[in-house]
Every structure is written in structure tokens, then in C-alpha cells.
């Protein structure tokens, strides 16, 4: 296993957000994490990248415990996050935003040239402020910025948030090419149909616990509704 969590608990002050998550991710796998608002999906990703603190042994990456390490150290080890809401740097241009990803100092296939070839719009707008782009283009910049760190695992938090369906389809259309480079991906997604379509396995969170897990193409609407909302559809 490339990434594994064992009995992962997370807290915001006294409030517990995750209640013992056991999770595993194989190299090259695409896993979708679904769940309602407040289910703990984003907290889970934040724990993996060190924004939310976790016990050292609760997260093991490539055989090494990484729980609680600083975010900078975790990205240098090969886990990158595309944060919810994109969070581009407003005072940086598109190209400068992308170059920020290379601070991790990891070598790999993802370079500015490669990204510009894959997303020509980025090259066309490389000198414009990142936040002046459309929502979909900003999301592409956020994905490109994470790829620039040449991660082994890419975590995508709510890529579709606030975007039109056609834009969401365009963004997810890039995922196979990214996975083809050997990338392992966790996608947090509220849109169940999209999550099932782009992933090999679905893990459903409910109130900070895993309520369902299985192959994306084998789970039924009823099973997911039960796990998603806690009630039968």
C-alpha cells in the first residue's frame, strides 16, 4: 500500500471531526471520497497533508509514518493537495502560481512546458493574475500548481465546487492523462455520479466515519444513499 491510515482521529479544538478512519490506497489507484457536508472529507485530506494534526503512526506513506508532520515536509515527501476553493495567490500571476508548486524540489514529469502543452490556456494567460481567470481556469491552475510538486499522491478537494457542469467535465477529462503518468489520486467529491465515473473505488464518509466502501462500478444508488445520508433512498 502506498498510503494507509489507521484509527485516524482529528479534532478542531474540542470538537472531534474524524472518528478512527481506516483507509488504504494502492499505487496508481483513483479513489473517490464522498459524503454530505460536514462528513469529514476535507478534514481527512487536511490530516493527510498536515494542516490538521494527527498522531504520527495514524498515517503511513510509502512505509513511513507521516502523521503530524508539517505540510511542507509532507509535500516534499510526495503528497500534494488541490485545496477546496482553489486558493490561488491573488498577487501572483498564473505562471508564478504554478512555480510555487515547484518549491517542494521534487523531480518528475511535471514541468511548466508539460503543463502548458496539456492546458494551453495556462500558457496563453501565464502573465495574468491567477485570480483574474474564470473559475474553471483557476481550478486548472490549482491542479497544475499541485502537479508542479511532482507528487506521488494527488489529493483533490471538491474540484467541482462552484463550477458549471460542462467545466467540471472538462476538468475531470484531464484526470486519465494525469493518472497515466503513474499518479495516485484521491478525489473528494459531493457529486456522486462524477465520483463513481472518475474513480475505481468509492469510500463514503458519514459524520466522521467510513460508512461504505467498494468498487465504483459495483455500488448501487441505494447503497450509496444509505451510506451518504444514513437513511434508505
Amino acid at each position: 500500500m502506498l498510503l494507509r491510515t489507521h484509527d485516524l482521529k482529528a479534532f478542531y479544538g474540542d470538537a472531534q471531526a474524524l472518528f478512527g478512519i481506516d483507509f488504504h490506497l494502492a499505487r496508481g489507484e483513483v479513489v473517490a471520497v464522498i459524503g454530505a457536508n460536514g462528513a469529514g472529507k476535507s478534514t481527512f485530506l487536511k490530516s493527510l497533508v498536515g494542516i490538521v494534526k494527527a498522531p504520527r503512526d495514524a498515517i503511513v506513506f510509502d512505509g513511513t509514518p507521516i502523521g503530524g508532520l508539517p505540510p511542507g515536509e509532507i509535500v516534499r515527501r510526495g503528497i500534494a493537495l488541490v485545496p477546496e476553493g482553489r486558493r490561488l495567490f491573488p498577487s501572483l500571476t498564473v505562471e508564478e502560481n504554478l512555480l510555487m508548486g515547484s518549491n517542494a524540489g521534487r523531480q518528475g514529469p511535471w514541468t511548466l512546458r508539460r503543463l502548458y502543452a496539456m492546458f494551453p490556456v495556462l500558457e496563453a494567460k501565464r502573465h495574468e493574475p491567477g485570480t483574474s481567470l474564470s473559475g474553471g481556469q483557476q481550478q486548472i491552475v490549482a491542479i497544475g500548481r499541485a502537479l508542479m510538486s511532482n507528487p506521488a499522491v494527488l489529493l483533490c478537494d471538491e474540484l467541482s465546487l462552484g463550477l458549471a457542469p460542462i467545466v467540471i467535465r472538462e476538468i475531470y477529462a484531464a484526470l486519465p492523462a494525469i493518472v497515466a503518468e503513474g499518479m495516485t489520486v484521491i478525489v473528494v467529491e459531493q457529486d456522486v455520479a462524477t465520483a463513481q465515473r472518475v474513480s475505481q473505488r468509492v469510500v463514503c464518509f458519514q459524520e466522521g466515519r467510513v460508512s461504505l466502501e467498494g468498487p465504483s462500478d459495483a455500488l448501487t444508488r441505494e447503497q450509496i444513499s444509505q451510506a451518504y445520508f444514513g437513511v434508505a433512498a
Partner: protein, 286 residues
């Protein structure tokens, strides 16, 4: 009239150097250093003491102190000021205010209240004659040139280098910057280290231009604040222009009445606060 304008701009050069470090620290960390003036005075006394002990000229003294100022700024930010950063500006204000008191009393204890100055090798009495009977002091001219060069260098650093990109990124969103592998605490420390190099330059030039005493800090802080706020917080060229406006208005005030100069500067500062509180050129963006 021409003489007033020229002298005002030259005075603005010194104020710009007082203010640039403040502008840099606010621009990167949203930290208002209320001990800025006292650190300038500390640098001035450090230079005076080193010159007296070694008999070196002011240029060698300044060069020798550069790494000390850089190191002091770096360590101060990493060890003390990083712990005060956050959404609430009060902790950093209180801590730097405390530093201000410590520096003033420490200098009083070590050097007494006597004003002192740094030997400029005669630079402070040399002047260049211009047509129309206007005489321009060499030291104020050098100060203005240094201020101009420092402003341009900071602007280039911010807009064209990887370090400047890091400064802007942590200023925008330090948490996301850390997700990119950046150590925000280290970036902040580098910003303060550079600010302290500017503080050193300002302190040395101030001690060469006039006398300094341990209680001068608050007035220098006031001039720095006024220049930064007139120009716009976090904007280097704005700070430069703000310092020029301050120097010019003070000089016009002095021309009208010797007691009005500082007061005129305060009036312009208040007018900007009321009419354009964001300053003339708010926030540098590359």
C-alpha cells in the same frame, strides 16, 4: 521656492529610508513594528560605538554591521515576532512596543542622554551649487540616491525574484504557501532581516546627518508611519512618494515659519487618513 522643493525632496529621501523597513514588514507579515524608530537609533548608536572603538570610517562601519543587522532581524523574527503573528494585530504591537521601551532604556543606560553623531568625513558639510543660487548638500543627495536605489531594489526583489514571489505568497495565504513546501516562518524571518538592513542604513545616515539621542526613536517612528500611510501600506514606491510628500510639506512649513514644519507634515498625514485612508498607492503587486 525651488530651494524649498529641493530641500524637501532631499529630506524625503531620509524619511523614505526610515519607512521602507516598516513597509516591507507590513507588506509581508501585516506586522506593524512600533520599535522601528528605536531600532534606527540603536543602529545609529551601534555605528557610533563601533567607529569609536575601531576608528574605521562610516562606510566600513556600515559594511561591518550589515551581517549583524541581517542576523538580528532574522533571529528576532524567528524567535520572538513569529509567535505574535495572527489575525489579531495586538500581540505584535505590544511586543514591539515593549522592545521600544527596552531599547530606549538600554541606550540611556549605556550611552547616557547625550546626543552623539557619526563622523561623516566632512560629507555633511559639502554641497554642490546649482543655478539660481540653490545649494544641494552632498550627504542629503547621497541619502536620496540610496533611498531611490533601495526602493527600486525592493520593488525588483518583490516583482522579479523567487524570494519576492515567496514574500507575496506568504503575504497572500501562508497556509497554502506551506502546502507548496514553503516555510512561512523562515520567509518572514528573511523579510525582517532585509528590513533590518534598511534600518541600519537609515541609522547610519541619520547619525551622519545630525545628532542622535536614545529618546529619538518615537519621532523617527512617527515620520516612518506618516510616509508609509501617505504612500499606502505595503507599497514601496508608494512609501517613496509618501516620504517625498512628507519631506516637501515639512519643508514648506519650515519656510513659512520655523515652528510649523513638523506640524505641516502631520496635517498632510491627517488629510490623507481622512480623504484617502488606503494611501496614495496601496499594496505593491509585483
Amino acid at each position: 521656492m525651488i530651494d524649498t522643493v529641493v530641500q524637501g525632496l532631499l529630506l524625503g529621501g531620509l524619511y523614505c529610508l526610515f519607512a521602507l523597513g516598516q513597509s516591507l514588514m507590513f507588506g509581508v507579515m501585516r506586522l506593524t513594528n512600533t520599535a522601528q524608530g528605536d531600532f534606527i537609533v540603536l543602529a545609529a548608536f551601534g555605528a557610533i560605538a563601533l567607529a569609536a572603538a575601531t576608528r574605521l570610517g562610516f562606510a566600513w562601519v556600515a559594511l561591518a554591521m550589515l551581517p549583524v543587522a541581517f542576523g538580528l532581524g532574522y533571529v528576532l523574527q524567528r524567535v520572538v515576532l513569529n509567535g505574535t503573528l495572527g489575525r489579531d494585530p495586538l500581540p505584535s504591537l505590544v511586543v514591539t512596543f515593549g522592545m521600544s521601551i527596552v531599547i530606549q532604556n538600554g541606550l540611556l543606560e549605556m550611552f547616557s542622554a547625550d546626543p552623539r553623531s557619526l563622523d561623516s568625513g566632512g560629507l555633511n558639510v559639502q554641497s554642490i551649487g546649482l543655478p539660481g543660487g540653490v545649494a544641494v548638500g552632498v550627504l542629503p543627495l547621497v541619502t536620496l540616491a540610496v533611498a531611490l536605489a533601495a526602493t527600486a531594489a525592493l520593488q525588483a526583489l518583490f516583482g522579479r525574484t523567487a524570494l519576492g514571489r515567496a514574500f507575496r505568497a506568504v503575504s497572500d495565504d501562508s497556509e497554502t504557501a506551506e502546502l507548496m513546501g514553503m516555510n512561512a516562518g523562515r520567509v518572514y524571518a528573511l523579510a525582517t532581516a532585509i528590513a533590518f538592513v534598511l534600518v541600519l542604513v537609515a541609522g547610519v545616515l541619520q547619525a551622519m546627518r545630525t545628532t542622535v539621542s536614545p529618546s529619538d526613536g518615537p519621532l523617527l517612528l512617527l515620520f516612518a508611519f506618516e510616509a508609509v500611510i501617505i504612500g499606502g501600506m505595503g507599497s514601496f514606491w508608494g512609501t517613496f512618494v509618501g516620504a517625498m510628500v512628507l519631506g516637501l510639506t515639512q519643508q514648506i512649513g519650515f519656510r513659512l515659519d520655523p515652528g510649523w514644519g513638523i506640524w505641516f507634515g502631520h496635517l498632510v498625514f491627517l488629510a490623507v487618513l481622512v480623504l484617502r485612508p488606503q494611501g496614495l498607492f496601496p499594496k505593491t503587486r509585483g
